[in-house]
Symmetry: C2
Subunit: 240 residues, 2 copies
DNA sequence: TTGAATTCATATCGATCGATAGACATTATG
DNA sequence: CATAATGTCTATCGATCGATATGAATTCAA
C-alpha cells in the first residue's frame, strides 16, 4: 500500500466541497464498511471488493471518494480519531482543568477511575468499537501510514492526562518514568478485552460481554487504581 | 486460507520421518523465515514468495515441506508453542509444585514475580520473540486456525498458574472471577511492550529497549504485584 | 426546464498471489 | 558404483487483487 494519487481526498482531505447530499451518504456507507473490514482483517487482509460489496456500491466508487485503498484506510483512521474525540474530549478537558487547578490525590483518583471507565465503555459498550480498537492496535504495532496521526491525536492526549493523574495520586515527579510506566501498564491491560477479547472471554467462561461483565471489569480496574494509590502511601487508600 | 492437502505435514505433523540431514536444515530455515514474515505482516500480509526468498529457497520448497501456506502457518504456531514450553515449562512445573505444597502468600508473591519476569524476558530479551508475540496476539484476536492450539498449549497453562498464585496471595477463592480478572489485566499489560512497543517506546522517549529499560519494566510490574498483595490485606505488603 | 456538475456502474487491464507439473540434482544405502 | 529416496529448481497455471478508461444516470442550480 504505497502512496497513491487521491482524486478527491487530495483536494479535500476532510469533507467533500461541493458534493450532493446522496454523495455524502454513499461516502459514509463506504467508510463504515471499510472500518469494519479493515478492523476485522487488517490493512492487508481487507479487500476493496468486499468493502464495496458490504457498502452496496461498485468498486470504482471507492476510488472516486477516497482515491484508492490507502486513502480509504487513512480516512478510516481520521474517522476513528473523530469519534474518539467526540466521546472523550469533553471529559478529558474537564479533568485537565481540575489537574491544572491542583486537585487532591483523592480527587485525581476519582478522575482516573472515570477516565478509565470511559475507555472501557468506549471499547466495549458501543457496538463497533471493538473493530476500531483492532484497527488502532494493528496500526500501532505495524507502524503503518496512520501511525503518526493516531499517536498524536488519539494516544498522546489521553496518555498525558493519565500520567498526570497518576503523578498526582502517587506524588511522583510529573511525567517521570515511573508514572509513565504505570500508565502504560494500566492502559495496555485494557487490551485483554479488546484485542484479546476472544481468549479472555473463553478463559473466564463468559459467553459474551454483557453489562454485568463490564461492571466487574471496571471494579477490577478501580481496585487496581486504588492499589496504585495505596502503594504510594498517599491518599486515604483503603478502608482497612 | 482454507484447508489444504499437506503432502508432508499431513503424514508427519511434527518431524519428517525418514529425512536427510540437509532437508531438516532447509525446513528450519523456511520455518524461521515464515515466523518472521507471519509475525511482521500477519497471515494475510505475508507472501510465500517473500518467505521463500528470505529462506534462500525457491517457492515449491514450502509446499514440499509444509503442504502450503496454511500448513506452514500452523507449523509456525507449533514451533512457537515448542519454544515457549522449552523456556517456561521448567519454571512453571516448579511453581506448580510449590503451589500444591501450600506455599505461603509471600512465597507465592515471589513466584509470581519470577513468572512475570520470565514472561518479560521471553518477550523482550530474546531477539525474535517480539515477532512471536505479534504472531500469537494476531492469531488470538483473529481467531485463526491456530487459535485452539495456542489457547490450550500456551495460554491456559500459564494463566491457570498465575490465577492460582494470585489466589494464594490475596486469599481469594481459587480460580474465581476476581483473581482471574486480575491475572488477565496483569498479563495483558505486557502487550505494552510487545504489540504496542513502538508507541510505548516513543511515549517513554526510549530509543530502544535495552537492559536498563527491561529492569525498569520489571520493577514496575513487581510493584504492581506488591500492590495486589497489599490491596488484599494479606502478606507483609510494603515496608512502610 | 435545461445543462453542467456530480455520482457511480460495466468492463477490463496489469500485477501478484498460492499452487503445481515436471525435470533435474543430491543423498544415503546396497 | 548403482539405485532408490529425497530434495530442489524452472516454468507456468488460474484466481484474485487494486486500479482505471469510459460513459450513462442522477442531482441540483439557473
Amino acid at each position: 500500500m504505497a502512496s497513491s494519487t487521491a482524486k478527491r481526498e487530495a483536494e479535500a482531505p476532510q469533507a467533500p466541497a461541493g458534493g450532493y447530499r446522496k454523495g455524502a451518504e454513499t461516502r459514509l456507507r463506504i467508510l463504515t464498511a471499510a472500518l469494519h473490514e479493515f478492523g476485522m482483517a487488517g490493512a492487508a487482509g481487507a479487500t476493496t471488493r468486499k468493502i464495496a460489496q458490504e457498502a452496496g456500491v461498485s468498486l470504482p466508487a471507492l476510488t472516486y471518494y477516497f482515491g484508492g485503498k490507502e486513502g480509504l484506510y487513512l480516512a478510516c483512521a481520521r474517522e476513528i480519531v473523530r469519534e474518539y474525540q467526540a466521546h472523550m474530549l469533553a471529559m478529558l478537558a474537564d479533568v485537565q482543568i481540575s489537574i491544572a487547578e491542583g486537585a487532591s490525590p483523592d480527587a485525581a483518583r476519582t478522575s482516573l477511575k472515570a477516565v478509565i471507565g470511559a475507555l472501557v465503555d468506549l471499547q466495549i459498550a458501543r457496538q463497533q468499537s471493538d473493530v476500531w480498537m483492532s484497527f488502532v492496535l494493528r496500526e500501532i504495532s505495524e507502524q503503518g501510514p496512520a501511525f503518526g496521526l493516531l499517536f498524536e491525536q488519539l494516544w498522546s492526549p489521553g496518555a498525558d492526562l493519565i500520567v498526570d493523574l497518576i503523578s498526582r495520586i502517587t506524588g511522583a515527579p510529573p511525567r517521570s518514568t515511573q508514572p509513565r510506566l504505570q500508565a502504560l501498564l494500566l492502559v495496555s491491560s485494557l487490551t485483554a478485552f479488546s484485542l484479546a477479547r476472544p481468549i479472555s472471554l473463553k478463559y473466564l467462561g463468559w459467553p459474551r460481554l454483557g453489562r454485568a461483565g463490564v461492571a466487574e471489569i471496571k471494579a477490577a480496574l478501580d481496585q487496581q487504581i486504588d492499589q496504585i494509590a495505596a502503594g504510594s502511601g498517599a491518599g486515604s487508600a483503603l478502608p482497612e
